[in-house]
Amino acid sequence: MDRSGSLFAITPLLLRGFGVTLLLTGISIALGLVFGTLLGCLYAWGGRLLRVLLFVMVSAVRGVPLVVQVFAVFFVLPVYGIKLSAVSSAAVALTIFASFTIMEIVRGGIEAVPKAQLQAALSLGFSFAGAMRTVVLPQALNSMMPSLVNQAVFMIKATSVVSLFGVAEFLYISKEQIERTLMGFEIMAFVWAAYTIICYPLTALGRRVESRLRTRGQTSLAGVGG
């Protein structure tokens, strides 16, 4: 076991771990946006049964800790014969979580758009999907923005949870290095600073978007979502 203990020496390893964190964040946000928007639209306009089903699922996702959901993906999927790598399982679990949280944001955004908008568009001859795409969603987007930005920050932090399952992301690698070098204080201070430096610009952006919304007289949905 070599004792190359300086922070400088272990940075390449930490960067590799950080790459995994970014990958997991990117996948969960991107797919979460896609699925979340779909689910949000389904919820806003779906039938009673669909809404109940979605309500049950989002209650489960929000009422149960994220680690338990990751655990479910890691340990229950293999029973169905689906054998994913650790990173893929983590990506699946994080995406599910993101999708349902974003679903709530999208649903709130859609419901904030006055129904009259949709009715007007339909009476002008738009198809339902067309009306949604060109009239409702763009307006909903404005009120959803701060929450979506907050959700992105939340996902960056949430990926740290998969370190408990051996996924070699940033926090896991740094913990490994602490075990090797015993530099707990230095390394954890570095990790704390790193996360803060990455997330702070996004948080500040979210706050700026929110205040801009408020000056335009629109209420935001900050508080919904992570």
């Binding site: 109940v52 049950v56 209650s59 229950v76 169905y80 014969g81 051996g166 070699a168 490994e176």
Partner: protein, 282 residues
């Protein structure tokens, strides 16, 4: 209004669980069995379950590469099976708890990870011939005054999470205060930081630790009070007789051509821990 909400949620929860269960039995029943050995050969890659938290056996070196006794053994088996030691994929578990489930679910072909045979495990998975002797030993700071196991009564000791391990320690040292951490690395770190007086691991990795940190640690040698003499074997899913036979023959081959001894020498710097069957005169 809220009562309805809660009822819906709980009802939905229950319904969902029932649906999961029903589909699970279906899915599993339809999975067709195939000889494990054939599956590996068809795939062209051996999937080995191991840990990165077992010092000396499966751990990350300074460059972040997975190395150790178990890793070398796994590569040797891949080489014999597929003619190429790189045709191997390691599923790395963060702790010992995942080894048995990973074998049962088929996530890995074999497990090579300081795997001792306990009766409870042997009931659900199969084990190969043993490849390394060990007993559960206490590592203490070289400067500490503990010479025998009973000296640790009343002291804080640490090892990885596991009911069987706690039982072993308390069986030999009834008054020990056992603090368990998720894996061996975590407990070793806690011990080194001063949270515990002794760190329990198997004697094989203990030898590796003493060698790697010269002068810092020593192992308590207490021949009258040895804790759990055991041996490591390769874990295989139950019912895979063909694969089990192959692994055993691969180990016998490795003993005959000296590869097993070479791995022992490389990581443990001795041949003391080679199991009896592999030492008997040919």
């Amino acid at each position: 209004m809220d009562r309805r909400v809660m009822l819906t949620a709980f009802g939905g929860f229950g319904a969902g669980a029932a649906a999961l269960a029903a589909t699970a039995s279906e899915a599993v029943a339809q999975a067709a069995p195939q000889s494990g050995l054939k599956r590996i050969l068809d795939r062209g890659k051996l999937i080995v379950g191991t840990r990165s938290t077992t010092i000396g056996f499966g751990f990350k070196d300074g460059k972040g590469e997975l190395v150790g006794f178990d890793i070398d053994l796994a590569k040797a088996i891949a080489k014999g099976l597929l003619n190429d030691e790189t045709k191997i994929e390691f599923e790395v578990f963060p702790g010992g708890a995942e080894r048995v489930p990973a074998l049962i679910s088929g996530r890995v072909d074999i497990v090579i990870s300081q795997f001792s045979v306990f009766e409870s495990r042997a009931q659900v998975i199969d084990f190969s011939l043993p490849y390394c002797n060990s007993d559960f030993s206490a590592i203490v700071k070289a400067s500490s005054p503990y010479l025998k196991h009973k000296d640790l009564n009343g002291k804080v000791v640490t090892t990885r999470q596991g009911d069987e391990l706690k039982a072993l320690i308390l069986g030999a040292i009834p008054e020990a205060k056992v603090e368990m951490y998720p894996n061996f690395s975590d407990s070793f770190t806690a011990f080194r930081q001063g949270r515990a007086e002794a760190f329990f691991n198997d004697s094989a990795p203990a030898r590796y630790i003493v060698r790697e940190f010269p002068g810092q640690f020593r192992v308590i040698l207490d021949d009258e009070n040895r804790i759990d003499v055991n041996q490591y074997s390769i874990g295989i899913k139950q019912g895979e007789q063909v694969l089990l036979n192959y692994i055993n023959w691969a180990l016998i081959r490795m003993r005959l051509d000296g590869r097993l001894e070479a791995i022992h020498k490389r990581w443990l710097e001795s041949t003391d821990l080679i199991p009896g069957w592999a030492r008997a005169a040919i």
